[in-house]
Structures are given as structure tokens and as C-alpha cells.
Symmetry: C2
Subunit: 147 residues, 2 copies
């Protein structure tokens, strides 16, 4: 079953990890897992810690040429009647961390890991224009525990 936009957002927001897809100048997709936080229709993720800087540059270069991005969270279970996923599509922009204390506070609030070691790289802010999702079974209906 399709999820409503509200239900898609409700499931995506608390997910601990999502995947950020961007597109390079040649039209090739790129994906990285990302910690993220959501407020309303805004999703933020940060380029954290120097070992990832190389990857960060690729996603940032992609956003510079192609601001359209996609964020996906999903739940895997060997019982395929429990599968679900949720996706957010929107336009991204890159912010320097000293320009977005508010957005960084969303990330620190969600992830204790960031409280000890705040992200030191740019912040990607995404204006979500479309929330979609799918679940194998109706989460609240009579089929929730069934096949």
C-alpha cells in the first residue's frame, strides 16, 4: 500500500539513517548514507568529520550542478510483509556550518553522537516538495500482523 505524505514523513523523520542520492554533471547518480534531521518540510544533513571529506566533496559538487536530490529510508525484515520505505524529494542547498546554528541544533538533538563531536563540514539543507512511501502491510489495519 502507498503511504500518505503525512505517514511517509512520520516514518522517515525518526529513522536513524537515510540515503542521500544526488546526480553528477554527467547525469550519473551517487548515493551515500547520511544522518539527518527533519523539521516540517526541511531535511538537513551535515558533512561530518574529516575522513569523509572526500565523499562530501562529491555530493556537494553534485548539488552545485543538480540541486534536485532524493532521500530514502527503509526497513528491512526477513518477513517481507513487514517491509516499508519512505522517500523525500526536494531541492538542496549547501550552507557553511557557522551560518546554520539552528539546523545543527536539530542534528545534535537527534544524535547524541553529534553532541560530543559536532559536524565540522558544510550542512546540506533540503526543501522537501514530495513525500512518498510504501508499506507491504497496513500498519494500523487488520492486516498489520498478516501476510
Amino acid at each position: 500500500m502507498r503511504l500518505s505524505p503525512e505517514e511517509a514523513r512520520r516514518r522517515l523523520a525518526p529513522a536513524r539513517v537515510a540515503r542521500l542520492a544526488t546526480v553528477d554533471a554527467a547525469g550519473h547518480p551517487h548515493q551515500v548514507p547520511a544522518a539527518f534531521a527533519v523539521r516540517g518540510d526541511t531535511l538537513v544533513t551535515a558533512v561530518d568529520h574529516k575522513p569523509k571529506r572526500h565523499q562530501g566533496l562529491k555530493r556537494l559538487r553534485n548539488i552545485a550542478v543538480n540541486p534536485g536530490v532524493c532521500v530514502l529510508a527503509d526497513a528491512y525484515d526477513e518477513d517481507w510483509s513487514r517491509l516499508w520505505w519512505t522517500r523525500a524529494d526536494g531541492l538542496a542547498r549547501v550552507l557553511e556550518p557557522d551560518r546554520c546554528p539552528e539546523q545543527l541544533s536539530w542534528l545534535r538533538e537527534k544524535y547524541p553522537q553529534y553532541r560530543d563531536r559536532p559536524p565540522d563540514g558544510p550542512v546540506i539543507e533540503i526543501a522537501i516538495s514530495r513525500w512518498t512511501g510504501w508499506a507491504a502491510a497496513d500498519p494500523v489495519g487488520p492486516r498489520a500482523g498478516g501476510g
Copy 2:
């Protein structure tokens, strides 16, 4: 640390789910979670079961205009020293299921779920040209259990 192509493939192949990113004609990325199987540098995934058919059409339309795709698997852990991900980039083509019994057998072998209910939609076959990956800690080195 960066993973070698061999290590990236060794980690991706047994992952139970990965995310397939494709790009539409307007250059916007699209992602879906996918069951998949790997042999050598070939990765296959199938469009299974009618309820997903709508989504399947989108990814198939994308591949028709943009065969360059990306597949990502990652491990999340609240201990961020255990994070890793692995990514495969390549060119996709779409096969009718009755033309690829071999590829379908790879999927059935990996997923008991497919033995009872074989995928009934097209098969996406990806020729992987690049395996990349990253792990927060060296999986076999002295830092494996550390921070």
C-alpha cells in the same frame, strides 16, 4: 578508511537489501530499496509482485533514458565507529523474466522468500564498473573494536 574494490564487493554481495538509484529524464534522482544478488561484476534485482508495479515502472523508465545506476548497502550502528557502506556503480539493462532464468536463480538462491513467490516482473541486470566503500574502523586491524 576506504575499502578496496574486493572488500567493497565482499561486503555488498551478502547484504539483504540495497538501494537502487536511477535518474529520470529531467536529471532528478530516484531511489528504491531492492533485494539483489551478485555474481562477479554482475548485480541483478527484480521487480517483484504486483503491488510495487507502479514504482517499478518509474525505475524502468529511468533506466531506459539513463542506464547509469548506483547501488548502495550500508550498516548503521549507534556506535559510529562501526559504520560502513559500500557502493556499486554501473550500467543497467532490463530483461524480461523468461529471458533470464540464470539471473532469477541467483535471486532464489539468496532469498528463500523468492522460492515460494518468484518475482513476476522484469529483471534489472547491472554491469558493475566500480566498487567503492568506506568503513569507520579497520575491520581486521587493531582499531576494529576501538573508537
